[in-house]
């Protein structure tokens, strides 16, 4: 039997709707991207806080934040933002290749620097929030 194939009659596979569930690394990628939802949430939460501080409603805000479901959301948000920090700071050397003396700085040095910076910034913020400078 002769089956003539017109040129370009290739089979186009259907889109795989669940691609992100296929391998572990895809899933991790999607989780990494979804941290952005919690980044947005955290910002919103902080704006509410700032509003409460400036508008004098801090006790009400504290009560709201103390609700168990609020705490639950914020625990997840904490995990997500921390995951975001780790992945984001680790990936930075990909875009920023630093060359010294013609040879590139190894990635771990840049990553190490980033993580140290993260610690320092966190410490400074905690200091001002908890102790202040007055």
């Amino acid at each position: 039997m002769k089956t003539e194939v017109p040129a370009g009659a290739a089979y186009r596979p259907r889109r795989d709707r669940l691609w992100f569930a296929r391998t572990r690394s895809y899933t991790i990628f999607v989780l990494r991207e979804l941290t952005s939802v919690f980044v947005a949430w955290s910002v919103a939460f902080l704006l509410m806080l700032a509003g409460a501080v400036l508008g004098g409603g801090l006790p009400e805000f504290a009560a709201l934040a103390g609700r168990p479901w609020m705490i639950a959301i914020n625990v997840v948000a904490l995990a997500a933002t921390a995951f975001h920090s780790v992945t984001f700071l680790n990936l930075a050397p990909k875009a920023t290749v630093v060359r010294l003396d013609g040879y590139r700085l190894p990635a771990w040095m840049i990553q190490g620097g980033n993580h140290s910076l993260w610690l320092v910034v966190s410490a400074v913020i905690a200091f001002f929030v908890l102790r202040g400078f007055r």
């Binding site: 596979p13 895809y26 990936l91 875009a95 290749v97 013609g102």
Partner: protein, 235 residues
């Protein structure tokens, strides 16, 4: 081994066919396919040539992962079954053979040749290039066009117009070559080019030649962004 078959005019969509292949400790998946073709079923079609991981013909999906079949031992999968499918993300011409013409068009669109301005040197002297300058782009010149990275990149699989990892890495190979004077900003600074990439990073993970296309793309994003903000900085 379970091998995906697609015979145009005969199969409406790919189907799996099982073959018994002896498990030899030093056989690669490709040797298994050759055994099938030579001894069991002459009608199986797939591409291969060098059998030493350098011609880039033999990329397929092995147990869900994009691999060079000549460089993947059967024994890696224990007693099997080993599932061999064509590379994902490409139209299937037949069995394990996919259509890569789109990729070739992308490749030429990034002007992958050395661009010089002014007089050429006569053929008696080379353009000097120190080992450090060579090292600056060497990694990106190692691509064998096997397309595993395309197959692994979800952005490409969803959007076949995405310029994709290997083509961008090749553009960077010339951008970072100290002898090159060309400018590829117009092709790379596009939504379907570097900006299409969301840094999934799978391309780098599957690349058998350690080209690291993900890095090439992120580096060009930075270059392109700086150039957009600071229009006077040329490169």
């Amino acid at each position: 081994m379970e091998v995906a078959r697609y015979r145009p005019g005969q199969d409406a969509e790919p189907v799996f066919q099982g073959y018994d292949v002896p498990l030899m400790s030093d056989w690669a998946v490709l040797d298994g396919l050759n055994h099938i073709k030579d001894q069991l079923d002459g009608s199986l079609s797939y591409r291969w040539s060098c059998r030493m991981g350098v011609c880039g013909s033999c990329g397929m999906t092995v147990n869900g992962e994009a691999r060079l079949t000549c460089g993947t031992f059967l024994s890696e999968y224990g007693d099997g079954p080993v599932r061999v499918e064509p590379l994902k993300g490409f139209p299937i011409i037949r069995d394990l053979v996919v259509d890569i013409d789109g990729f070739l068009a992308k490749l030429s669109s990034v002007r992958p040749w050395l661009i010089r301005e002014g007089e050429d040197l006569p053929l008696t002297a080379e353009y000097a290039q120190t080992p450090e300058q060579l090292e600056a782009y060497k990694q990106y010149s190692m691509c064998i066009n096997c397309l595993l990275c395309y197959s692994a990149c979800p952005v490409y699989v969803l959007d076949p117009d995405f310029l994709g990892p290997a083509a961008i890495a090749l553009a960077q190979r010339y951008n970072l070559d100290s002898r090159d004077m060309g400018d590829r900003f117009d092709v790379l600074n596009q939504e379907d080019a570097v900006w299409g990439c969301t840094f999934v990073g799978e391309c780098t993970k599957v690349c058998p030649k350690h080209v690291d296309p993900a890095e090439a793309i992120q580096r060009y994003k930075l270059t392109a962004a700086l150039r957009s903000v600071l229009p006077w900085s040329r490169r």
